[in-house]
């Protein structure tokens, strides 16, 4: 069964139709990259999937549990139950600045999932170790580099053992040298068959790691499929135009086109 | 206003409510020598001695309650104090709000100037500045002589007589209008520094203020006054504070 099913999702802000009939599924262990120009609705889609925004219409379902149907949401308890199934890594991390790294990771398991403190800390330390942050557990977020902060954010999201992880532009706030570091972590997660949906501008990452690429424009899914196909040989005119721009800053070292 | 304090006197005292025969005396603790604080912070003064003696004779326990003088009538009517007793001048406008006892003392509003001042009479003050304590009977007295008031360049209202006299000394004001008894107290220390004009404003009288509804209490106080006059207690207390008997109870 699909971990996440989105069907005919619709969302407007006033007159602005941000999502128009979006449908896709994410299978267990799949890595999906969502690409598309600025303003195309990628972040809004992620925010709807993580209940930060409410859909106007359509269906969202996690492993068979309905979150919303035709824009109608379940009660608080149902929503709270579904929240345990996903994790979200924000673009600017949104770590809790007043908590140590370890406490950032353990607070939700202890307070929300009611986990025993000792167990939560053991699990938290394990996650931090995996992220290469063992020595930083007592540091505060402001003492960490951007890349380290992001790894804490990933550990925090993973601490509730979600079935699926969402990332919103995980590398765009980072110094280019750190980008490699964070992409390595995500590659490792992919190798462990973590289910992930990643909004990204890193074509290299999308091509190398994602199982499927979804290209969005103006609230529609314009094209989706195998990343090698979509990125290197896009069918759609809009996709082609978008990907051309990336050529400029050296994704494929090609110099053929000028930007539109 | 009369709903609570209607019939009898001391039994209705809200402030001292626990005990039937306690009476709360409202006073200003910055008004020497009538009521003020001695160097150890104790409440002392002529009025305080008389009030204590009077109510003791009436078999009542006295509670002295310093209040802010600008809300004194409100305190009285709200029954937080049972009487106002602190050089409280009897005036017509106050009579409308307050029930007065017999006048127990005469007072004059006099004008203090510096010893070396060229001011010798009220007329000399025309075009000059006169200082006084705000919300006091001095300001009522001044209002009663509009011609004099209008001849002044400026009337300076201070929170207390102390600052008014300081203002006089430092040259801000040319004269201070002040209760005679108070002036005596203040000028006692440095008698040579000040001079008192021969002119004085209308004579006035001090009385004790009660709520309109407390006639019985007022009458009893009047009786006690007479008693104290007869047995010489009033004279004794007056001599202690002023060196002579200046009380006016017949």
């Amino acid at each position: 069964m699909a971990v996440l099913t989105v069907k005919n999702a619709k969302k407007s802000f006033g007159e602005n139709h941000v999502l128009n009939d979006i449908s896709f599924e994410v299978g267990k262990g799949e890595v999906i990259a969502i690409i598309g120009p600025s303003g195309s609705g990628k972040s809004t889609l992620l925010r709807c999937c993580t209940i930060l925004e409410h859909l106007d219409g359509g269906l969202i379902q996690y492993s068979g549990d309905v979150l919303c149907k035709d824009g109608k949401y379940g009660d608080k308890e149902q929503m709270q139950n579904i929240r345990k199934k996903f994790g979200l890594v924000f673009q600017n991390f949104n770590l809790f600045p007043h908590f140590s790294v370890l406490r950032n990771v353990t607070e939700a398991p202890i307070r929300v999932a009611g986990m025993d403190r000792q167990k939560a800390e053991a699990h938290g330390r394990e996650l931090l170790h995996k992220m290469g942050l063992s020595e930083k557990e007592n540091a505060y977020p402001c003492e960490l580099s951007g890349g380290q902060q992001q790894r804490v954010a990933i550990a925090r999201a993973m601490a509730l053992d979600p079935d699926i992880l969402f990332f919103d532009e995980p590398t765009s706030a980072l110094d280019p040298e750190l980008t490699g570091e964070i992409l390595k972590v995500m590659r490792e997660l992919a190798e462990e068959h973590m289910t992930m949906v990643v909004v990204t501008h890193e074509m290299g990452f999308a091509r190398d790691v994602a199982d499927r690429v979804i290209f969005m424009d103006k609230g529609y899914i314009v094209e989706q499929g195998d990343p090698k196909v979509v990125i290197d040989h896009p069918e759609n005119e809009r996709t082609r135009l978008f990907l051309q721009r990336f050529a400029q800053d050296g994704v494929s070292s090609s110099k053929e086109g000028e930007p539109a | 206003l009369s709903s609570c304090g209607g019939d009898s006197q001391s039994s209705q005292t809200a402030a001292g409510g626990e005990k039937k025969d306690t009476i709360v005396v409202g006073l200003d603790d910055q008004f020497p020598p009538m009521g003020y604080r001695d160097d150890d912070g104790n409440l002392v003064g002529f009025d305080i001695d008389i009030a204590t003696e009077t109510f003791e004779r009436m078999g009542m326990e006295v509670k002295l309650q310093p209040i802010d003088w600008k809300v004194k009538e409100q305190e009285l009517n709200a029954e937080t104090v049972d009487c106002l007793w602190n050089g409280y001048t009897i005036t017509d406008s106050r009579k409308e709000e307050v029930l007065f006892s017999d006048a127990y003392m005469k007072n004059r509003q006099i004008i203090v100037v510096m010893a070396d001042s060229e001011v010798n009479s009220m007329d000399d003050l025309s075009g000059k500045k006169l200082a006084l304590q705000s919300e006091s009977s001095a300001s009522d007295a001044l209002d009663s002589v509009p011609d004099f008031k209008n001849s002044l360049e400026e009337v300076l209202l201070f929170d207390d007589n102390n600052k008014a006299l300081m203002d006089l000394e430092s040259g801000g004001a040319d004269g201070v209008l002040i209760d005679e008894v108070v002036a005596r107290y203040y000028t006692k220390k440095d008698a040579s520094k000040y001079r008192i004009l021969d002119d004085s404003l209308a004579d006035e009288e001090y009385g004790v203020g009660f709520r309109k509804s407390d006639e019985e209490l007022r009458d009893k106080v009047n009786e006690t006054f007479k008693e104290m006059k007869e047995d010489g207690t009033l004279a004794e207390i007056s001599e202690k504070w002023f060196g002579e008997d200046i009380t006016t109870i017949q």
Partner: protein
Amino acid sequence: MNDLLSLSLQLLEGFGWTLAIFFLTLLFALPLGMPLAMGRMSKHKWISKPVEFILLVVRGTPLMLQLIFVYFAPFYLFGMPLGNYRFPATIIAFSINYSCYFAEIYRGGLESIPVGQHEAAEVLGFSKRQTFFRIVLPQVLKRIVPPMGNEVITLVKDTALAQTIAIMELFRVAQAAAASRTSLVPLVMAGVFYLVASFLITRAFNWAERKMSYYH
């Protein structure tokens, strides 16, 4: 010399009342400011507008008037005997007044917490209550330390207004002493008390600021 000692003791007693007003006002106004701040920020106009009006009136009129009003209103409006209401009235008036000032400071603090903090907590499943007490409030506290310091120092000096309804606080005692001695010395001494109190408060707030600076 002996006189100065006795004067100091009197002032100290007045200072006791000053401190009592000070701490009780903080005790009530500090928490009370929070619901007012939230009411002011409410999305519902029928909550935010009345609260805005209350804040305007309380912050726009002198505390002295509010003291007179709070003290005498029960009697003059409802005929209730005042009894020993003098001190409670002081605390009520000060608490209302200061909670309105604190409310505006809290609002500034609350509005400066990035919405991302709320969202992160929401996605992790924290309840509204947990989000407020564990995530938002600690961060607000850190941000409001400087303006609160200013307001609290003002409170120390404002306690002098309690004399309006005849509380024998420091400044009243000093003024009475100044009147009977015809001297400004008691007032200057009171000034020193206020200065020391303000200094200690400044220190305490600096310490709090430092203590909370382990993160930013």
